[in-house]
Structures are given as structure tokens and as C-alpha cells.
């Protein structure tokens, strides 16, 4: 008990430093910083404001989807359907825009698509007691098929300007021209982080990933909780998809193919434990940015294009191994 009261005394600076080092995000933050330094030494173009904002813009939709993925993984599941949801939501937004809906309504339609797919995932996982891997693998395929079916396989172009601006404009902040997607990414990160760390729902999500039986016995409606978790993931993936469509100016049914793996990797590189119960949104954000910096840096430094995917894979494994090693030593 004495040790306990001591741990609640005033934080000393070494104590604060230790707490920072022990945080899961610390490792990935160090890697991101190291990569940034190496790349800015190797290339003259890397450490310019424009390029950094480009990195943020390019990683924004992956990052936003990764926030939802982080929630699902923390709750002890996995969501493979995020890439398809991104494509489908962007497509629904584009189609409703061309049908003459205003941009806000069209965006809502896109988000509603994500809610729908996420809700279906949640119902099958909780009520149907099916493994999340199987359920979301099914919706991955189903949502992609729907996207092809809605368009007949052709991309949707000629989107209205006010919608496209959302993805392509910058907001002047002082000396900087900050891209809107970057702002959106930070806003979503803040909201999701508040949800996870400051609300009862967030606490239940962490508890669910730690011990589902105990949470059920504690009188929490686990079915409703799971449906909420997958719906959140769906809506965040949809938000990423809409943003991606606005940025690219075109909604293709083939968009975001294979993104689910990038998104899961971003979350896990950011320290979200695949066993559930551990991880933060900020970790996922750092993970997504690290992956983008890596891609960007490999291109800028003239690394052979065909080998880039391999290099990224190696670094993902290294980051996760480092996280494991740290967990074993704390």
C-alpha cells in the first residue's frame, strides 16, 4: 500500500520522462522522427513545408480509416472491409452528387453507406457470434461488388467543384497553406481520441478487448457495444473514402483496393495491440504518417519502385518487433 500511495505523489521529471518512454506511441514517434531526419539530409526537397503537407494530405484518408480500424482492434476484433467501404462510400457520394444532391447531403449519403456496412458487420459479429475476420472478409467482397454493380465498372467523373475543393483546397493559416484533408484528419483524430479516452463508451471498448466475458458479466450490453464499434469503423472508413474521392476528383469502383492492409498496418505499427485492449488513435495517426513518409521518402531518394513494397513490409515487421521487445522489457 505504501508503494501505491507513492505512485500517486506528485510527478517528478524522471517519472514523466519514463511515462513518455513507456507509452506505446513513443517507439513509432522516434522512428518517424528518425526517418524525417534521414530523408531531409538525403534530399533537399523533403523538409519543405509543402512536402510535409503533401505527406499529411496523402496519408489523411488512410489515417482516418485507421482510426476506425484502431477502435475495432482495441475492442478485440478486426475489420477487413474498410478498403471496400472507402470505395463504396466515395462512389455513393459521387453518384448522389451527379444526381443533383448538394455536397453536404451527398457526403451524408456516403457516410450513411459506411454506417450501413459497419452495422451489418456488427450485427453478424455479435448476434451471429461469427469471427470478425470471416464477417468482414464477406463484406469486403460484397461492398466491392456493390461498387462495381452500381457503376457497371466505370469510374464516375465530373464531380462538382465545391465537393472537389474539399479535398484539394488549402486553408491559409498564418504563413502556411494547410490542406483541408490534413485538418480533417487531425479533427477526426481528436474526436476519436476523446471518444476512446474520455467517455464511458471508450472505457467499455478497451475493457471489451481485454476480457469480453468479464464485460458481459458486468452487465454491459456486449451486442450493442460491438455493433457500435463496427459502425464507428464503417463511418470513419466512409469519411476517409469521401475525402479520397474529393481529393482525386474521381470515384472509381477499383479505388482503395488493398487499402485494408495498409490501414491495419498503420494501426499496428502505431502500437495498437492485435490482441486487443491496447492502443491509441494518436498511435494510429503516427503509424499512418510513418508509412506515408516512408513511401514518399523512398520515391524522393530514388529507391527502385519495384522494391518499395518490400522495403515497407520489412519496416512494418521491424516496427512491430520493436514494440513487442519494448513490451517485454517494461
Amino acid at each position: 500500500m505504501r508503494a501505491l500511495s507513492a505512485s500517486h505523489s506528485k510527478p517528478s521529471w524522471p517519472g514523466v520522462w519514463q511515462a513518455v518512454v513507456r507509452r506505446q506511441e513513443f517507439g513509432i514517434a522516434v522512428i518517424l522522427l528518425a526517418l524525417t531526419i534521414i530523408l531531409s539530409l538525403q534530399t533537399s526537397t523533403f523538409l519543405t513545408g509543402t512536402n510535409l503537407f503533401n505527406v499529411m494530405r496523402a496519408s489523411s484518408w488512410i489515417a482516418i480509416a485507421a482510426f476506425g480500424e484502431a477502435i475495432v482492434i482495441i475492442a478485440g476484433g478486426i475489420d477487413l472491409s474498410v478498403g471496400s467501404v472507402m470505395a463504396l462510400a466515395g462512389l455513393v457520394s459521387a453518384l448522389t452528387l451527379l444526381a443533383g444532391w448538394g455536397a453536404p447531403l451527398a457526403i451524408c449519403a456516403g457516410l450513411a453507406t459506411g454506417v450501413a456496412v459497419g452495422f451489418i458487420n456488427g450485427v453478424f459479429v455479435s448476434r451471429g457470434k461469427l469471427p470478425s475476420f470471416i464477417v468482414t472478409l464477406g463484406t469486403l467482397s460484397a461492398a466491392r461488388g456493390l461498387a462495381f454493380g452500381l457503376t457497371g465498372g466505370a469510374p464516375v467523373r465530373n464531380l462538382p467543384d465545391n465537393f472537389v475543393h474539399l479535398g484539394q483546397s488549402n486553408l491559409p493559416l498564418g504563413n502556411w497553406e494547410v490542406p483541408l484533408p490534413a485538418i480533417a484528419m487531425l479533427a477526426f483524430a481528436g474526436l476519436t481520441a476523446l471518444l476512446l479516452s474520455r467517455t464511458v463508451l471508450g472505457g467499455h471498448i478497451y475493457a471489451l478487448g481485454s476480457d469480453e466475458t468479464a464485460v458481459w458479466l458486468a452487465g454491459i450490453n456486449v451486442e450493442r457495444l460491438k455493433i457500435t464499434v463496427y459502425t464507428l469503423s464503417g463511418v470513419l472508413a466512409a469519411a476517409g473514402g469521401v475525402l479520397m474521392t474529393a481529393r482525386l476528383g474521381v470515384a472509381a469502383p477499383t479505388a482503395a483496393v488493398g487499402y485494408e492492409l495498409d490501414i491495419i498496418a498503420a494501426a499496428m505499427v502505431g502500437g495498437v495491440s492485435w490482441l486487443g485492449g491496447k492502443g491509441t488513435v494518436w498511435g494510429a495517426l503516427l503509424g499512418a504518417m510513418t508509412m506515408q513518409v516512408l513511401r514518399n521518402g523512398l520515391v524522393l531518394s530514388g529507391f527502385p519502385t519495384y522494391w518499395q513494397a518490400t522495403a515497407i513490409g520489412v519496416i512494418i515487421i521491424a516496427a512491430i518487433a520493436l514494440d513487442r521487445w519494448r513490451a517485454g522489457h517494461s
Partner: protein, 528 residues
């Protein structure tokens, strides 16, 4: 919050082919405390699981306040303020105690606790922990670090921090210490007084009889009795628990149960006394250690003093020997030479003297002088055996012994180790003095005719001196202190010398009736 009226009608539960409960029907009024008893596997826990929504019943109905309920999960029961404390509480290990206590029932705002109010929750949980004598700091301890008893208390605190209308307690007392059992029993009665219904299971009938209004007995999944506690006896209940009607079977069980609970209580008290005993033992131990420490210091100081004393004694002895040597040399070189020269002068005077009368007189004086010289020589020899410096211990002892035997007319046989060799001066002198004193003693007290002196090396390289006589022997045991009081210092000085050399002295009776003096002196330089 008022309690609820519970009615169970014909409840059954089957797990596959196994029937766990069959046809359970009973009611519970608000504020009533029911004890649920039965053997292990009689269906107590299963019944509580049905009432708390963990299992759905296979058949039968549950009514709460006359409304049919059909629970599909614990959250539905808890919505009606029906709370269960499990026999083995399941906590989320990775969360701390405060999160576990309020998991699923957080206090906050605006709707149903969207944003938690941890200050309020902490205050409420702290009062419950204090009630059970646990520190408030425990609230921030991870659940996985808790011992069994504290886990049980956390599970109980989960229920006590909520307004409850029906409490289901599955053997909550088993893991608790005696004192905390009593607190919980009081608390159960208190809750019932406020209108909450309670169903509690347990093995300790004494506890159940103390707090329950009614007792339900389960036997192999069936409800075999529903008695008012006031109208029944523990014996009766035990009979129904074991399902035996015959006295012979029940009596030992009652006896065993009673002694089991008595033993439990005693064990708890013993643990208490043991703890206090250990504390006082530790205090005593440290006191003892201090005393031993001080004693050791004093013994050490004493040892040092002793060593200093011995050193002083040794120095004294050495100085005395030096003094004697000096005195002997003075006598020999000065007095004897002077006397001899007077003798020569007298001889010349004698030759020059014509009268034989005078010559005779002078001759007599000269023989007197020669006598004095010879006695002085003897004295010198005693003071400082001249042979010991030049010829060593053996020669000195031989010449002294020869001279002693001649002077006293006592037969002396000598047995001296031919390999005695030379020893350090202090030892040689001491040994010589010991021999001298020993022979002196024999001359003064023994009235012996035959003496045997033996000086030799032993196999352990020490020096052995053995003096045997055939005299009167010892009439009474030797007492050195008494001897020294009567100013007989001979044996005392021998024993002192022996002690200074680190040796040992023994005095015993010889086979022939005399005395044997044996001295053993360790040699500082072993013979090569």
C-alpha cells in the same frame, strides 16, 4: 429505492442431457433475506445464474413485480437492479479497481453516464473500501495484482456502490477474513432493512441463521424445503442438505461442519496472534542481538587486558632475569675477584710471616675466604647458570642436577633427550627455572630418597618436563591460592611461568607414593 417482489415458477435448467435444476418455485418479498443451501452441485449457483440473466431457463417463468421477464444477458437483469456477486469474481485484469467497480454502471452525465464523473465514483468507492478496512490507494491498483480476498471485496463493492433492489450473493463469505465476514453480514441486514431483497448462498449455517428470514434447501436440483429460519434448526437443515433421514449419517456431518467452522474461526484468530507474536519476537530478537553485541565487546576488552597483563608479566620476568644476570656478573667479576686477590695477598703475607701460629691463622682465614668464594660461585650459578648461555639447557640442567644431588645427598637419575637442541633464550631460562624450583620443592617438602628428572621432546614438537620423586606424596589436593596465601611461592611461580609460555602443568601422585610434576611447553620453533 424499494425492493422488488420476485416470483419464480417451475424453473428448470438443463445443460445438454444433464438436468441442473428442476421445478423450482418460490417467492421473495421486498426486504426479505433468503439463504440458499445445498451440497456442491445441487444447483445453487445455477439458480442464481438464471435469476441474474447469465443463463436462460429451459422451462419456467420468472416474474419481477408481477411482470414476466425473460433475460438474455446479465445487462437485462442489471437494468432491473438485480446484481449478482459471483463465487469466483471475474474482473477485467488489465483495468484498475475503480474501473472494475463501476464497469457497466458508470456514474456521469448527461445521459446514462456518457462522460464519466470519476471524482464522484472515487468518493463512493472509497467509503465502501474503508468499510472493509482497505486503503483507498487500492482503487488504482490493477485487478490482476489483487489477492483473492481483495478481488472478492472488489466484486462486493461493485454491488454495494449501486442502488440494488435484489442482491444475489454466491458464497460471498468464503474468501473473506472473519472480521470482514461480520461487516458484510451487517451490511446485508442493513440493505434488507432498506427494502432490498437478498439471496445468499453459503456453507456456514451459523452465518445464514444469523441474517436470513427464510432458508431454501436444494437437493440434486430440486427444492426440498422452504422454511422460515425462526421455525427451523441447523440440524434439520443439514439433514435435508445431505438428503439423509438416518441419525447416524447426519450427526457426524453436523459435528464435522461445526468443527470445520470452529476451526476456521480459530485459524483466523491464530493468524492474528501469530502476527502480533512475530512482532514482539522481532523486538526481543533485536534486544538480544544488542546484548550479545555488548557482551562480545566486553569480552574482547577483557581479552586485550589479559594479553597486556601477560606481556607485562613476561617483561617483568625478562627484566628479573636480566637483573639476576647482571647481579651474577657483578658478584663474579667484582666480589669474587676481589676476594681472590685478598686471598693471594694473604698467601703472600703467610709466606712472609715467620711464625707458624700466624701462618695457621692466616691459612684458616684463607680457607674461610675460599669457602665464601665457593659459596658465591654457587650463588652466581643459581642466579644465572653460566652454562646455559654457552652450552645450552641440557648442560645447565645436568650441572645443576649433579650439584643438587651432591649437596642434598638425594639420588637423582637424569633422562635428557639427546636431540633437545637449542631453544630461544626465554624458554631455556624458564625451563631451567622450572627445574630449579621443582627440585627446590622436592628438597624442602618431599623427604625423598630417589628423584627422576626427564626432559624430552614429544612427537608434537613440544617440550615435556617430568619430575618424579618417591617422597611423602600429597596429603591433600593442591590449592595454589591457599599456598600463595601461606607465602609458598614455588609451585605458583612454576605455574605462572608455564602459563606465560602457553603450556600446561599437571601435578599428580607417582606410582611409588611420591609426586609427579609434569609440564608441557609448546615449542615456538619446531625441531627440524
Amino acid at each position: 429505492m424499494s425492493g422488488l417482489a420476485l416470483r419464480a415458477v417451475d424453473l428448470s435448467k438443463r445443460f445438454g442431457n444433464l438436468s441442473a435444476l428442476e421445478g423450482i418455485t418460490f417467492t421473495l418479498a421486498p426486504g426479505e433475506v433468503i439463504g440458499l443451501v445445498g451440497r456442491r452441485g445441487s444447483g445453487k449457483s445455477t439458480l442464481l445464474h438464471l435469476l441474474s440473466g447469465i443463463h436462460a431457463s429451459s422451462t419456467g417463468k420468472i416474474y419481477v413485480d408481477n411482470q414476466r421477464v425473460n433475460f438474455t444477458g446479465p445487462y437485462q437483469a442489471q437494468r432491473l437492479s438485480i446484481h449478482l456477486v459471483h463465487q469466483e469474481p471475474r474482473l477485467v485484469k488489465r483495468l484498475d479497481v475503480i474501473h472494475n467497480i463501476f464497469l457497466g454502471q458508470e456514474i456521469g452525465w448527461p445521459f446514462g453516464g456518457g462522460l464519466p464523473d470519476w471524482n464522484r465514483m472515487t468518493r463512493r468507492a472509497a467509503t465502501v473500501l474503508e468499510e472493509f478496512d482497505l486503503p483507498v490507494g487500492l482503487l488504482w491498483e490493477k485487478a490482476e495484482n489483487l489477492p483473492d480476498e481483495q478481488r472478492q471485496i472488489v466484486a462486493i463493492a461493485r454491488v454495494l456502490c449501486q442502488p440494488a433492489r435484489l442482491l444475489l450473493l454466491d458464497d460471498p463469505l468464503a474468501a473473506l477474513s472473519f472480521e470482514r465476514q461480520r461487516r458484510l453480514l451487517d451490511r446485508i441486514r442493513g440493505l434488507a432493512g432498506q427494502g432490498a431483497g437478498v439471496i445468499v448462498t453459503g456453507d456456514n449455517l451459523k452465518h445464514l441463521f444469523a441474517i436470513t428470514d427464510r432458508i431454501l434447501v436444494l437437493y440434486e436440483g430440486r427444492l426440498v424445503a422452504d422454511r422460515r429460519t425462526a421455525d427451523s434448526t441447523p440440524r434439520e437443515i443439514v439433514e435435508m442438505i445431505v438428503g439423509a433421514a438416518s441419525q447416524e449419517q447426519v450427526t457426524p456431518i453436523i459435528w464435522a461442519l461445526e468443527s470445520y467452522h470452529a476451526a476456521q474461526q480459530q485459524a483466523e484468530e491464530l493468524r492474528h496472534t501469530q502476527a502480533t507474536l512475530r512482532e514482539s519476537l522481532e523486538a526481543q530478537d533485536s534486544l538480544n542481538r544488542q546484548l550479545v553485541e555488548r557482551l562480545r565487546d566486553q569480552v574482547e576488552a577483557l581479552d586485550q587486558l589479559n594479553v597486556a597483563l601477560q606481556a607485562a608479566h613476561r617483561r617483568l620476568l625478562t627484566e628479573r632475569e636480566q637483573e639476576r644476570k647482571h647481579l651474577a656478573r657483578e658478584l663474579h667479576d667484582q666480589v669474587i675477584q676481589d676476594l681472590l686477590s685478598f686471598n693471594y695477598q694473604l698467601e703472600e703475607a703467610e709466606n712472609a710471616e715467620p711464625t707458624t701460629e700466624r701462618q695457621k691463622e692466616l691459612a684458616a682465614i684463607r680457607s674461610g675466604i675460599r669457602q665464601v668464594v665457593s659459596e658465591l660461585r654457587q650463588l652466581c650459578g643459581d642466579l644465572r647458570p653460566p652454562t646455559i648461555d654457552s652450552h645450552g639447557l641440557e648442560a645447565a640442567i645436568r650441572s645443576h642436577a649433579q650439584e643438587w644431588a651432591d649437596r642434598n645427598g638425594i639420588a637423582l637419575t637424569l633422562e635428557i633427550d639427546p636431540h633437545l637442541g637449542r631453544l630461544p633464550e626465554a624458554i631455556e631460562l624458564s625451563v631451567f627455572r622450572i627445574v630449579q624450583e621443582g627440585l627446590n620443592n622436592v628438597r624442602k617438602h618431599a623427604a625423598a630418597k630417589q628423584v627422576h628428572l626427564c626432559v624430552r621432546r614429544t612427537p608434537t614438537a613440544s617440550l615435556l618436563v617430568q619430575l618424579t620423586d618417591d617422597g611423602k606424596g600429597l596429603t591433600q589436593p593442591l590449592d595454589l591460592v591457599a599456598l600463595s596465601a601461606r607465602k609458598h611461592f614455588g609451585l605458583l611461580s612454576i605455574s605462572e611461568r608455564v602459563a606465560l609460555l602457553g603450556g600446561a602443568m599437571q601435578i599428580g601422585s607417582a606410582p611409588g607414593g611420591g609426586v609427579v610434576l609434569q609440564v608441557d611447553i609448546p615449542s615456538p620453533s619446531p625441531s627440524v
